[in-house]
């Protein structure tokens, strides 16, 4: 999955020699590494973005985890379990990438659990049928890939490298999701209805994943100048729509957008207005599953406290014995 563009604007007035050299390196497409000098705002922006991305992976395990015990065949069960495991792995690399910027994983997890950190709004929607597992792979991971491929060239080395590996796995997940949708849409009438219903529910929230429209996304300039971000929200969203609409038509499904039409002259699929009010509301905490998702993470953390304490106590005893 992926992190959403949520960053707040940052001041960029530093004209010191270090700052100038830093920007020159970025302009020359050099990678910034953990021990290199970097502006504080660059560090903060990255910590926020990478940790939001990590949190999204971890919270994203919940809606799909909801179907692991009900996956309809052994092959599907193994594939879904492996996919959700990959997401945990992505969370782990991303927390590690954030740690290279001088912040501890515990602190980041604490920000998530206390509700101070954001994660992708898409995971606040419920998975109601098996087709949602297909739709998440096809659409949510498809949207994630659009966002993440440019991040493989992000100016910050550890993030860019983590993203290369993550993108490979995401594209596998996306194909797997599409294959679930294909099986359903070629299946019984009930299965086709499930597939259509999943597309109806997931389409608009997926378009929101790219973040607010360019006019309202005031942080973009700085992130683009720092080459953390390389394309605008709207450009990525359009790219996703152009790639996805023909895939949906091949499935024989209908997009829940009466304004969707092919613009021959521009070579793009034009789509209707996104309900940004819904986006803001879900982001602010009022989505169908916000409270449940956070409660589930808090519960797991609280239930595991005695285990983590035990591991620390045992390690301390071993250490004392060795000394």
């Amino acid at each position: 999955m992926y992190s959403q563009a949520l960053n707040t604007p940052t001041k960029l007035a530093d004209t010191s020699p270090e700052a100038t050299r830093f920007q020159d390196r970025i302009d020359a497409e050099e990678r910034i590494e953990p021990n290199d000098w970097m502006p504080e705002a660059y560090r903060r922006t990255l910590v926020r973005q990478i940790s939001q991305h990590a949190h999204s992976e971890i919270v994203g395990m919940l809606p799909e985890g909801n179907w692991i015990t009900r996956a309809p065949s052994l092959k599907r069960k193994a594939a879904l379990l492996a996919k959700v495991q990959d997401e945990g792995g992505h969370g782990l690399y991303l927390y590690a990438a954030a740690e290279t910027l001088g912040v501890a994983r515990e602190e980041l997890v604490d920000q998530l659990l206390s509700g101070r950190a954001k994660y992708s709004s898409i995971f606040n929607y419920p998975t109601l049928t098996w087709a949602d597992i297909g739709a998440i792979g096809w659409l949510v991971d498809g949207a994630a890939i659009m966002n993440q491929i440019p991040l493989c060239r992000c100016s910050y080395g550890p993030y860019a490298r983590a993203m290369i590996r993550i993108c490979k796995e995401e594209s596998f997940h996306q194909r797997q999701g599409y294959e679930i949708m294909l099986t359903l849409s070629r299946g019984t009438a009930e299965q086709k209805a499930m597939a259509q219903d999943a597309l109806d529910r997931w389409w608009w929230p997926c378009l929101m994943m790219f973040g607010p429209p360019d006019g309202q996304s005031n942080h973009s300039d700085t992130s683009m100048r720092w080459k953390i971000k390389r394309f605008t929200n709207d450009a990525l969203r359009q790219k996703f729509v152009d790639a996805t609409v023909p895939q949906g038509h091949y499935l024989g499904l209908t997009f829940p957008d009466p304004d969707l039409r092919w613009d021959e002259a521009a070579g793009h699929w034009r789509f209707g207005d996104i309900d940004w009010e819904e986006f803001r509301r879900v982001l602010a905490g009022d989505g169908p599953c916000n409270r449940e998702r956070l409660a589930a993470r808090r519960q797991a953390h609280a239930d595991g406290a005695w285990v983590r304490d035990a591991a620390r106590a045992h390690a301390a005893k071993q250490h004392a014995k060795a000394a």
Binding site: G65, T69, K77, A78, A82, A296, W306, R308
Partner: protein
């Protein structure tokens, strides 16, 4: 509407394969229930790994029966399952989950080692043994951490052993075909005792032992697990997924 259940014609070979396959599937399913709930992220990944190994083993064993793997997993009633009862017990806390994984995997690892030479199980056993050896190591390390950790973790680990012990006898019940589980018991005792000692835990006494899983007489828990696991294939019997 007619029942969506199937009945399997059980030859001795199929009985052997199903017992091992059901052990792996049921325990793998239980471990998969931990997804999103593990005490730390690294353990989230490890539990999923073990679950994936077990589901993979179950598939290979089901396929060796010559029957459809999904029909076996999704269309048999609880009474058709041949797993040992310990596999189907609810996960409990992390101590119960790890103590079970340790007790079971230690027995299973010995079984796969003995089965490598078996005509029917050999090819599957060779691969499964490598995976199971890792499960034993992982679970043993946790049992030691928990037993030796804090007063609370020690108490929970001891409670887990006490809860599970009466279910261990079934792991060594004689079988008509394949390696003789009863013959593995001394090696199991020898492998389990030092880990329990390192964990500063007490080995529970051998009293009355639970039994019945191999003949399809299960605990109350398996029916609930299957109701959840089998819901889609049972609800839409004509669908392919």
């Amino acid at each position: 509407m007619a029942s969506t259940s199937i009945t399997v014609e059980e030859t001795a070979e199929r009985g052997l394969l199903l017992a091992r396959a059901d052990d792996a599937l049921v325990l793998g399913h239980r471990l998969s229930e931990w997804t999103g709930r593990a005490p730390l992220l690294e353990e989230e990944l490890a539990l999923a790994n073990v679950a994936l190994d077990l589901i993979g083993q179950a598939r290979a064993l089901y396929q060796a029966t010559g029957l459809d793997e999904d029909a076996l997993a999704y269309r048999r009633d609880a009474s058709g399952f041949r797993n040992a009862l310990i596999m189907e017990l609810p996960n409990g806390d992390f101590a119960v989950t790890m103590a079970r994984l340790f007790l079971v995997s230690t027995a299973t690892d010995l079984y796969w080692r003995a089965a490598v030479a078996d005509e029917l199980l050999g090819p599957i056993a060779a691969r499964a043994e490598k995976e199971t050896a890792y499960h034993v190591r992982h679970a043993a390390e946790w049992l030691v951490r928990l037993g030796d950790g804090t007063a609370e973790s020690h108490r929970r680990a001891q409670d887990a052993l006490d809860l599970l012990w009466p279910y261990t006898g079934e792991l060594f019940e004689p079988a008509p075909l394949g390696p003789d589980p009863a013959a593995l018991r001394p090696a199991w005792e020898a492998a389990v005792a030092p880990v329990i000692a390192r964990a500063t835990l007490r080995r529970p006494a051998d009293g009355w032992m639970q039994s019945g899983g191999r003949s399809g007489r299960h605990t109350e828990h398996l029916g609930h697990m299957l109701a959840e696991m089998q819901v889609l294939p049972r609800t839409y019997p004509d669908a392919r997924w």
